[in-house]
């Protein structure tokens, strides 16, 4: 699992802007997130930007006041060399679609295709002329981590990701806390079903939490809560991150945990040996060397060896 944030996107564009051919005079973004990358690129290179539809329908370019180059373009089709931009390429489907669309309307401009991040496999590499940075699959991006179908495999924390954190006064494990649970302001609305909501809220608040989730239409497969009598016990046992790591480790298909606190994210990543994303600071913790990772790898290796061994034995018996 790999991760790229908005910061990575803009830095990659800044560092690679010299690789864009010099005679490019228009940047065309592929909707939706490609338009965003195209906008950053246009600002970095000081070139006019339009989206695919604007280019196909040849709608007048609205040049922002700041463009300094006396660019003579008023319509996108007047451009001679067009840079077709998408942010990521995994299967190459959207790039193919864009190219087909351009072929259909018979565009006679020279077209260079460019991707900021792409899977370094021949399948996707053959579809683009310029690649800024390789991003091996599986990967998630800041701007769509909560809006992909993969979300059904992820673990997501509630406080700090879906809703805001309780203040110190609200976190009294009593009536104030119940009031907070009822009226917490939502932060993000995931579009797909969330796989596992893993929270260190206590089991006794399950009803309130479920009611809140239903109120804001958050779909999920499982809600896993900490089963301890009260908050004091949780603090004393320092259970929050250990509990989350324990749950995460026990879910073999889950390969990303979205956590709100940076420190906790780091600990979860270490204890579980799997990737954790800190949502508030957009830091990604890939598993570094840790006992948990070694355990995970050993188990995988053992499983693989057992499989190979079983096959070899079966083959041996068959040949006899």
């Amino acid at each position: 699992m790999d991760y790229r944030s908005l910061d990575d996107l803009s830095r990659t564009i800044l560092k690679n802007r010299h690789r864009v051919p010099q005679d490019v005079d228009l940047i065309v973004g592929i909707p939706r997130s490609g338009v965003f990358a195209a906008n950053i690129m246009g600002l970095a290179l000081n070139l006019p930007v339009t989206d695919l539809d604007g280019f196909v329908q040849n709608t007048a370019l609205l040049l922002p006041y700041r463009i300094a180059i006396p660019s003579a373009l008023t319509y996108p089709r007047e451009a001679k060399h067009v840079l077709l931009v998408d942010d990521t390429i995994h299967s190459g489907k959207s790039m193919d679609h864009a190219r087909e669309l351009l072929k259909k309307v018979q565009v006679d401009q020279k077209i260079t295709t460019c991707a900021v991040f792409a899977n370094p496999k021949p399948k996707s590499l053959t579809r683009i002329n310029i690649l800024f940075d390789a991003l091996p699959s599986p990967a998630v991006l800041e701007w769509n981590v909560l809006h992909r179908d993969k979300l059904e495999q992820f673990c997501v924390d509630i406080d700090g990701v879906l809703c805001r954190n309780p203040t110190r006064q609200e976190d009294d494990d009593g009536p104030e806390y119940r009031l907070f649970l009822e009226n917490a302001t939502p932060l993000t609305f995931p579009t797909y079903k969330v796989g596992y909501l893993v929270t260190s809220r206590l089991e006794k608040y399950r009803k309130d939490t479920e009611a809140w989730l239903q109120r804001y239409n958050v779909a999920y497969n499982e809600l896993i809560m900490l089963d301890l009598p009260d908050k004091a016990t949780r603090v004393r046992m320092n259970a929050s991150s250990r509990f989350k790591a324990c749950v995460y480790k026990g879910l073999p298909h889950s390969d990303l945990f979205i956590e709100s606190e940076r420190k906790e994210a780091h600990i979860i990543s270490r204890l579980s040996g799997k990737a954790v994303l800190c949502y508030s600071s957009q830091t990604f913790f890939a598993p570094t060397w840790s006992p948990a990772l070694v355990e995970l790898k050993t188990r995988k290796m053992a499983g693989w060896l057992a499989k190979r061994g079983r096959r070899a034995i079966a083959r041996f018996i068959n040949t006899k």
Binding site: S5, L6, D7, S10, R11, L14, K15, R17, H18, Q22, P31, R32, S33, G34, V35, F36, N39, I40, L43, N46, V49, D51, L52, D53, G54, Q57, T59, A60, L62, P64, Y65, R66, A68, I69, H90, K93, S94, H97, E142, W143, N144, H147, R148, R164, T185, P186, L187, T188, F189, T191, Y192, H266, I267, R270, L271, Y279, Q282, T288, W289, P291
Partner: protein, 350 residues
Amino acid sequence: MEYRSLSDMGKTITLNTHKIPPSVDLVVGIPGSGMLAGSLIALSLNTLAADLQGFIENRTLRHGFTRNTKTFYSSPREARHVLLVNDAIVSGHTMQKAREKISAAGIEQIITACVVYAGHEHTENADLIFEQLRPPFAFEWSLMYSPLLQDCCVDIDGLFLDIPLTNDVEDRQARMRSIRDARPLTVPSQPAGVLVTDYPETFRHEIETWLDKHNIRYRKLHMPEHGGVNGIRRSGHLATFKSRVYQDYPEAPLFIESSSDLARTIALQTGRKVLSYMDQEIFTPEYLRAMATKQIRSLPSRILRKMSQLAFRDPLAPPHQLAGAEQINSKKQSHGASLPDLKVNDNHNK
């Protein structure tokens, strides 16, 4: 001067998405940087986005394949509640004009105007403001086009000119030719205040012609007397040179430097704000002081943790964080070592 980078804007938007009315089903960006903010908000809300012109002309909306959007409709006029987005309010003209355009086109949808950043003035033009800043402010996406650039000190290499000056002794003629044919990376639309470069005085003619050719205007160009090709070039020497130029302009609000290490050194030497452009990191004197204090304060606990780790007692202590802290420490030491060295160099030049 307050500075916000693109990732700052992303964070501000994620933290403030809940302020947007839930009935919003289309985001319309004002051309230019409003499109940038608009597409970010649309991605975070997971609705469709259009630009102002497309919305007025009712152009079909398209979206990618990888994501499932909340609403599916093909023309923007089907939306019921529209969020009109711009990145910042400076004079309020852009927002007013956009509203006038929409009302002139006879559009009856509910329109909420939203800006990510605003100063204290002209706030009545927006219904929603995500963050208030104290003016003057600059943004990563418009820094090269804002009138503030007229006062700043700007480094040429890595920002406009993409041929870095390397240390190897090279053919002077070839070097001059490569400058002549170099492409500009960014062309600012405002005249820059003071330009600073790594190339020595001997290249003044080439650099000036190149700047003229690409229409980069400036008030003054500073070049080091020694160093560069066929000379001694050391990053320490360069940092002192740049700091001295920056000190000569006390009214300059910002020094824009491409490399992060040099930016940090300049900030340390001058005690003023330096922006490292490639990493979009701003070094303020307060920040550097805070970093140093943090390092010193955490020293005992770091030593303790390291020792306990050596004894394999604490499985929770993250080892690579420690390694990172050590790196910062060693960097600091190297800075400390380079500073007195620089002074010697300085005297020698005089």
